[in-house]
Each structure stands twice: as C-alpha cells, then as structure tokens.
C-alpha cells in the first residue's frame, strides 16, 4: 500500500479543476484528491485571491473546505527559515516547501525547478507522469 501523502500547489489545483493535465496526471490527481487533498495556507490564500466569476466561487470554496489546510505552524516557520537561508525562493514558495518538508509530504507542482535542491523535499510533476 502506498502511504505517501501529497501537498498540492495552486497551479496544479487549477490545472485539475479545469482538466488541463494529461490523462496520466489527471488519474494521479484523482487518487490524491480522493484521499483528501492537503494544501498550504498559502495555497488557500492564493485561490481565494483569484478573480473567479461568482458562479464558480462555490466550487473553489467547497474545494478549500474539503481540503486539509496546513497552517503556518512553528515547525513550518523554522523549516521556512532554513530553506530561505540556503535557497533563493519566493517567500510563498518557501512556505509551501517548508510545509511539505515539515509533514514529509510530496509536493505536487508544475514548478519543480525552484524546489529541486531542497533537502528532504520530494516533488512530483503531474504534467510529466508517464506510464511505460
């Protein structure tokens, strides 16, 4: 049984909601979403800040309600400082990365490059899932 847990970033959530990902990526996300999605508080803020037409705000708010939103805890803050000291990430990226490291969750993102060398952080890009 795969007991890995994932944390999804904003871009991938939007890609999934609009079914833009390749089929393999969508199927992978189905599994992640059905297991209750984990997201950072940063992702929640980003999604709520988007200019979404009123008829779709319920969709996004329901998604946020169904997700587990991981707050900026002391441990996340400490890991964020460590990441900031050794990497040049935006603060929002650093918080998302620190949240993933703190909970030992694999980060699901299309922006893998900024996270590539962060110690203890596993990343997966659903745009690049290939089945052989």
């Amino acid at each position: 049984m795969d007991t890995r847990q994932y944390i999804i970033d904003t871009g991938i959530i939007l890609d999934y909601l609009s079914a833009r990902l390749p089929e393999n990526g969508m199927d992978f996300l189905d599994t992640v979403i059905n297991a209750i999605p984990n997201i950072s508080i940063i992702t929640k803020i980003e999604i709520q800040s988007l200019p979404i037409p009123e008829e779709y705000t319920d969709l996004l708010n329901n998604f946020l309600r169904d997700a587990i939103v991981l707050d900026l805890s002391n441990n996340v803050s400490k890991n964020c400082v460590l990441i900031n000291q050794t990497h040049t990430l935006d603060i929002t990226q650093a918080i998302v990365a620190a949240t993933a490291v703190t909970y030992s969750y694999t980060l699901v993102t299309n922006a893998t490059k900024p996270y590539a060398k962060i110690r203890g952080l596993n990343v997966i890009n659903p745009w690049e899932i290939f089945v052989h």
Partner: protein, 72 residues
C-alpha cells in the same frame, strides 16, 4: 488478537479523519475490523475534476495574482 488489544467503536464525524485512520492501520497500530459507513457523497474527484470551464481558466490567466503563483 492479544490480551493487550482493545476493541473500540468510533464514529467518524469528518471524512478528513479517514486517511489518518488508514495510515494508522498501514503502520499496524490499529486494525479496521469493519467499515459499515456507505459513502453518502460522490468522490471528491467526481466533485471537482474538470469542473472549472476552460474559459474561466483562461480569464484568470491574465490576473496579476496568478502571475505570482507557482507554475505560472
């Protein structure tokens, strides 16, 4: 079953608890003996997969906040 085992019946008030319970089982800390709760709601993938129309997605592409978000 060993003498130190306890059997309790719990009620899940929030589906968010299920992954945690499943993880406890995978760690062999507990055993789920019976699951009698039928899923009353559609799966989250059925609820969300592809529910945001392409035109809405396109319209938010130009927003300033999206330009600051990972992956864009």
């Amino acid at each position: 079953m060993t003498p130190s085992d306890h059997i309790i019946i719990i009620q899940i008030h929030n589906e968010k608890a299920m992954p945690l319970i499943k993880q406890l089982e995978s760690l062999e800390l507990i055993t789920i003996l019976e699951e009698n709760v039928q899923p009353a709601k559609p799966s989250l993938s059925a609820k969300y997969r592809g529910k945001l129309p392409a035109e809405v997605y396109s319209s938010i592409q130009t927003s300033q906040i999206l330009k600051q978000i990972d992956g864009y």
